[in-house]
C-alpha cells in the first residue's frame, strides 16, 4: 500500500485534533476536581475521619495526575506539529 504526503498530513492532523479534544476534557476534569476539593473541604471541615482524608488525598493525586497528563500532551502536540511543518 502506498501512502502520499497528503494522507500522512491528514492522519497527523486527525491525531492532533484527538489529542486537543483530550486536553479539553482533561481541563474540564481539572476544573471539576478543583470544585470537588473546595466543596469537600467545606463539607467535612473538622472531621478528621480516615475515609475523608483518603478522599481528599485521592483528589490531590488525581489533580496532580491530570497536570502531568496535560503537560505530556502539550509536548506530543508540539512534536507532531514540528513534523507536520517539515513535510
Amino acid at each position: 500500500m502506498t501512502i502520499n504526503v497528503a494522507e500522512v498530513k491528514s492522519a497527523i492532523h486527525a491525531a492532533v485534533s484527538e489529542v486537543q479534544d483530550s486536553q479539553q476534557a482533561v481541563q474540564l476534569a481539572t476544573e471539576k476536581l478543583d470544585a470537588a476539593q473546595q466543596n469537600l473541604a467545606l463539607a467535612v471541615e473538622g472531621s478528621g475521619a480516615e475515609a475523608v482524608e483518603t478522599a481528599q488525598a485521592a483528589l490531590v493525586q488525581a489533580r496532580d495526575d491530570l497536570d502531568n497528563c496535560l503537560a505530556t500532551t502539550v509536548g506530543a502536540i508540539e512534536q507532531a506539529q514540528t513534523y507536520l511543518a517539515s513535510l
Partner: protein
C-alpha cells in the same frame, strides 16, 4: 472501549426527617452534599479524554513510529498512564466518600453499576511493536516519596514493579485488591525495614490508600483474642504500647502519636485520637502502619500470616457473624 462513567442513576436519599418536620436533619443534609460531590466528579470527562488519546494513537501511531518519531507514541503512552492514574484516584475518592457515608449510617454515592476503571493506557498499533513497561510510571511519586521519608531511605532512580491484579481492566493492570495488599504487607512487616519498604513501594497507591479497612478488620479480632474480650477504650494504651515500637522500627519517621491514634480510634471510635495536634494526617502514614500493627498482633499471638487471609475473608463473606464475634 471505555464506558460512559458519567451517566449515573440518581437515587433520592431516605426521606428521614427530624422531629416530624419536613426538613432533613443536619446529618442527612451533609450526606446529600457529599453524594452531590461524588456525582459531580469528572468521570465522564476523564473517560472522554482517554477515548481521544486512544483515537490519536489509532490515527497515526504507526506513521509517527515509522517516520523516526517513535518517542511520540511514548509521550501518548505516558499521558495515558497519567490519565489512568487520575481515573483510579477519582474512583478512590468515591470509595472514600462511600466509606464516610456508611460510617455515619447514610447511603453512598448513587451508582449505576458502571463504576469501572476505563483503560486510558494507549498501546502501539504498529505490527510487532512491544508495549512499553509502564511500571516505573505507574508508581506514584507522591506515594513513593512518602514511603522513602517514613522509612528514612534515600530516593532511588529505579523502583520495583507495582503489584497489580487481573481486576476488571482488559489489560489486566488493575490495582491490587486491598485485602491482598494487606496480606502481602503483613508478611513483609514480619521481616526487616528494607524488605518492608520494598513491598510498600510495590503497592499501588489506590490499593494502599484502602488498607485501613482490611487492616482494622484484621486487627480488631486479633486484639480481642489477645485481650480475651472486645477491645475498648481502656485497652488502647496497652495495645498501642505493644505495637508502637515495631511501627517505629520499620517506619522510623512515622509521626510519634500515629500508632497510638490508630489503635485508639479502633478501640474507641468516639474519642480515641489521643495525640491530636491539629495537623492533618498524611494518608500514606496510616496505610503504611496498619500492616505493621496487624503483624505485631500476629507475632504476639504466635500465629502465621494465613490468619490474615482467614480474617479478611471472614469479614467479607460473613459480616454479621464477624461483627457478633468482635462484640460490635
Amino acid at each position: 472501549m471505555s464506558e460512559d462513567l458519567g451517566q449515573r442513576t440518581v437515587s433520592a436519599a431516605p426521606a428521614r426527617t427530624t422531629g416530624g418536620s419536613d426538613r432533613p436533619s443536619l446529618v442527612e443534609s451533609l450526606g446529600a452534599r457529599l453524594r452531590g460531590i461524588g456525582q459531580d466528579l469528572p468521570l465522564a470527562e476523564l473517560t472522554r479524554a482517554a477515548d481521544r488519546l486512544r483515537g490519536a494513537t489509532a490515527a497515526c501511531g504507526h506513521i509517527m513510529a515509522e517516520s523516526g518519531h517513535a518517542e511520540w507514541m511514548g509521550q501518548l503512552e505516558t499521558a495515558g498512564t497519567h490519565l489512568d492514574s487520575a481515573i483510579t484516584a477519582t474512583l478512590a475518592v468515591l470509595d472514600g466518600l462511600d466509606g464516610y457515608l456508611a460510617g455515619i449510617g447514610l447511603p453512598g454515592v448513587p451508582r449505576d453499576g458502571a463504576r469501572r476503571v476505563a483503560p486510558a493506557h494507549v498501546r502501539p498499533t504498529r505490527a510487532g511493536a512491544t508495549p512499553r513497561d509502564d511500571a516505573a510510571l505507574a508508581v506514584r511519586v507522591w506515594w513513593v516519596e512518602r514511603v522513602d521519608l517514613l522509612t528514612d531511605h534515600e530516593p532511588e532512580p529505579e523502583r520495583p514493579a507495582t503489584v497489580r491484579s487481573d481486576g476488571e481492566r482488559p489489560d489486566g493492570a488493575a490495582p491490587e485488591e486491598p485485602a491482598e495488599a494487606l496480606r502481602r504487607l503483613v508478611r513483609a512487616a514480619r521481616g526487616g525495614r528494607d524488605g518492608y519498604r520494598a513491598e510498600l513501594l510495590r503497592t499501588h497507591p489506590a490499593s494502599g490508600l484502602q488498607l485501613a479497612t482490611p487492616g482494622a478488620r484484621a486487627f480488631r479480632p486479633l486484639a480481642a483474642d489477645l485481650l480475651g474480650h472486645a477491645p475498648g477504650g481502656d485497652d488502647a494504651k496497652a495495645l498501642a504500647e505493644r505495637c508502637a515500637g515495631r511501627v517505629r522500627e520499620l517506619l522510623p519517621r512515622i509521626p510519634a502519636a500515629l500508632p497510638a491514634d490508630l489503635v485508639g480510634e479502633l478501640c474507641d471510635p468516639y474519642g480515641g485520637r489521643s495525640g491530636d495536634t491539629g495537623e492533618p494526617r498524611h494518608p500514606v502514614d496510616a496505610a503504611a502502619s496498619w500492616p505493621v500493627l496487624v503483624a505485631e498482633l500476629l507475632r504476639a499471638l504466635g500465629r502465621d500470616d494465613d490468619e490474615v487471609t482467614r480474617l479478611t475473608a471472614l469479614a467479607e463473606q460473613r459480616t454479621d457473624e464477624t461483627l457478633k464475634r468482635d462484640g460490635r
